[in-house]
């Protein structure tokens, strides 16, 4: 297949490109006009070509898409204020989908996130499946969740209006080399001082190489069309287990300030009611003091990847220990041989 991959220069995007190449696909990698492609080890692979466009504007998008079989849409803005993230995630998706219609390419694998779920509505220890409630009050959530919710809405409209062949992948927290810390552990006060909120909650995580495989499989499998798939790894660790492994690999281990989850949760609700009743909802507290944001990161819940495994025939290849080992090694994880055999769906 010929795949157009947006966000190809991002953390997950690079692994998706490499996995697609390893599986014998041709890749048209979307990178921003000013990006230096030579820094990617795979930039001169014979099956790679680059489309230098910025999804935030429409110019050149249609021609960039023409001739591909499917689009894997990873590009999103994860930092900046609301309007920066709106442009990088929502307007980028609006432009991409319009160009896909013009280019008559209607197969899309859209990468969403676990952040779209409504965690306040879930009881402790609920099993989070693809049918879990979607956030009903986005303004209580951070800019990332707000913009990814609108992005999913756009993708659904595209699917319904144009009878497009859409798969929505919702990965949990993606971790890997240089990205071992994640927001489900707590807050990084400094490089060596962490606030760990809770200890026993299961972490909805997926190692970047495992996740990349699931995403490429989704583009290959017909069974994935019209599906929404949660992607997390097997044998998910608790916060304590993950933190222990992470600390072991640090040259100067960070100091942890443990905070009890139930206590923190109660405190945020007190602040929330104070804000709503006394301050008329005008206050904006840091994320860990807002119930909806706190629960999205630390609430004790259960997770499953059963649906993704069934639809994609996917098994996460690397365990948590393997993932830490690979992430901490010197191996070139993005190396790909110039020859790869195309796979059949």
């Amino acid at each position: 297949m010929k795949l157009l991959i947006t966000g190809a220069s991002g953390f997950l995007g690079q692994y998706v490109v490499v996995e697609a190449l390893r599986r014998g696909h041709q890749v048209r990698a979307v990178v921003r006009p000013s990006g230096d492609v030579t820094r990617y080890t795979w930039h001169d692979h014979p099956s790679v070509e680059f489309a230098r466009v910025d999804l935030r504007c429409q110019e050149g998008l249609t021609s960039a898409i023409e001739g591909v079989d499917a689009v894997i849409h990873l590009a999103a803005a994860k930092a900046g204020d609301f309007y920066t993230q709106f442009a990088g995630t929502v307007i980028a998706t609006e432009n991409l989908l319009r160009a896909m219609v013009e280019a008559k390419v209607l197969r899309l694998v859209a990468i969403s996130t676990f952040s779209v779920y409504d965690y306040v509505k879930m009881e402790n220890n609920t099993l989070v499946t693809e049918d879990a409630p979607i956030e009903s009050n986005p303004l209580e959530r951070d800019e990332y969740a707000q913009t990814k919710l609108i992005q999913e809405q756009l993708v659904r409209e595209f699917e319904n209006t144009h009878q497009a062949l859409v798969t929505i992948i919702r990965p949990g927290m993606v971790y890997g080399r240089d990205y071992l810390w994640n927001a489900c552990l707590g807050a990084e006060l400094t490089d060596t001082l962490w606030l760990r909120i809770g200890a026993r909650a299961t972490m909805p995580i997926t190692y970047v190489e495992n996740c990349a495989t699931a995403i490429v499989l989704a583009s290959e499998k017909e069974a994935a069309i019209a599906q929404t798939l949660n992607v997390v790894d097997d044998n998910l660790p608790t916060q304590r287990e993950f933190a222990k492994k992470l600390l072991k690999r640090m040259t100067v281990p960070a100091k942890l300030i443990p905070v009890n989850w139930a206590l923190m949760n109660s405190l945020t609700w007190v602040l929330w009611y104070y804000n709503k009743i006394i301050l008329k909802g005008q206050a904006k507290f840091p994320g860990i003091f807002v119930p909806a944001k706190l629960q999205a990161r630390f609430k004790p819940l259960q997770y499953t990847n059963a649906h993704a495994k069934e639809i994609l025939g996917w098994t996460p290849k690397y365990s948590l220990d393997d993932a830490f080992e690979r992430s901490s090694s010197d191996a070139d994880l993005l190396a790909v041989s110039p020859q790869a055999s195309p796979v059949s769906a």
């Binding site: 921003r32 006009p33 000013s34 910025d54 935030r56 504007c57 204020d81 309007y83 920066t84 709106f86 929502v90 307007i91 609006e94 609108i150 756009l154 301050l279 005008q282 206050a283 904006k284 507290f285």
Partner: protein, 352 residues
């Protein structure tokens, strides 16, 4: 109260949040439509701020909705033709700064507004921030004596990330005569003129691009202006931190200063304690005010009060005036003088 004015917004970028939050809550306005080339952006703004309709084509909006007031919040190079269409469609126009890139275009647009019997209002929001109003009071009640000097200084880290440093989609403001500084120069100039509304005979403006490269035309302005015995300094820096927006007004009796980004008020004047003790009293009072400001600014951050607080006040006064058939608070003279002075700062003959 008179009937709420039917308001529409064109452009739903960052600054729209400030305009829309006013229109959503003010009893003087009724938000009838938002317009943006991006359909989803217009939809989001309409849903978030309860607008009645969305459009991607502003001309269609003007025809179908017939708003009383249009807020133009699009990039500066688009203002002139959009404002012209709005005025000719019978709407008053409130426009983000700079209203036009040149003084000549401002005069053309003003002539159209006059012909259409509509008001044209440029956003001079910082004039309505609390510390500026407080300094104005010091001036009018004679606390500072006769104003002799004004210094307006903005430091913005425009070269390190953000919309202006983005090389992938160069911000249209880079194409304006003063480049990225044109995005803020209106503020620097109208604040100077607020306290020194004089004609400056001698202007010396150093425009520099210290950071180099082709994306930025200028990233630094250091201008000295002299009119009779009055002196002003207008300064923009992209290379000094922390970011600030300092205003210092010096009079014949004393001076007052503030930073509009981290608001505080310092006023050094003769005190009742007499000449010998005045320095001590000034230090004590200003020290106390600084401590209060530190707590106040923390509270402002939590309560989401931004340096745009003056915009809410300006819009409220503008809508009140328009409802009552009175001239708006930002006058032709305010805008004309500001636009002329910006042009003078850019003039070849005044450069050093």
């Amino acid at each position: 109260m008179a009937m709420a004015l039917r308001a529409a917004v064109i452009g739903t970028g960052v600054i729209s949040k400030e305009h829309l939050s006013f229109l959503n809550t003010s009893a003087r306005s009724q938000l009838v439509a938002v317009c943006d080339l991006s359909k989803i952006s217009a939809q989001y703004a309409a849903q978030r701020y309860q607008a009645q309709a969305t459009f991607a084509d502003y001309r269609q909006m003007l025809t179908e909705v017939k708003p009383d007031v249009v807020h133009i919040l699009t990039p500066p190079h688009t203002h002139k033709w959009i404002a012209k269409d709005c005025l000719e469609a019978g709407a008053h126009v409130i426009c983000e700064k700079p209203l036009t890139p040149t003084h000549e275009e401002f005069r053309e647009l003003w002539a159209i507004a006059q012909k259409c019997d509509r008001y044209l209002i440029e956003d001079h929001n910082y004039r309505y921030n609390e510390p500026i109003l407080a300094i104005e009071k010091f001036v009018t009640d004679g606390t500072l004596g006769e104003v002799q000097e004004v210094e307006v200084r903005m430091a913005l880290n425009v070269r390190s990330g953000g919309a202006f440093a983005d090389e992938n989609i160069p911000n249209p403001v880079h194409k304006l005569p003063a480049g990225v500084i044109h995005d803020v120069i209106t503020h620097l100039v109208y604040l100077t003129l607020r306290f020194l509304p004089v004609e400056f005979e001698r202007i010396s403006a150093a425009w520099s691009n210290h950071g180099g490269g082709t994306l930025f035309k200028y990233d630094d302005l250091d201008a000295v202006l002299i009119g009779g015995s009055k002196h002003a300094r207008i300064r923009f820096s992209a290379h000094t931190l922390p970011e600030c927006f300092d205003v210092i007004v010096r009079g014949s009796r004393g001076y007052a200063q503030t930073d509009l980004f981290q608001p505080y008020l310092r006023c050094v004047v003769p005190r009742k304690a007499g000449k010998q003790l005045s320095p001590l009293v000034n230090h004590y009072i200003n020290g106390s005010n600084l401590v209060k400001a530190s707590v106040g600014n923390f509270s402002r951050k939590i309560m989401q009060r931004t340096p745009y607080e003056g915009l809410q006040r300006l819009l409220d006064e503008t809508y009140t005036a328009l409802q009552n058939g009175n001239p708006p608070p930002i006058t032709f003279e305010d805008m004309d003088h500001t636009s002329r002075l910006v042009e003078a700062l850019l003039a070849e003959g005044n450069r050093v």
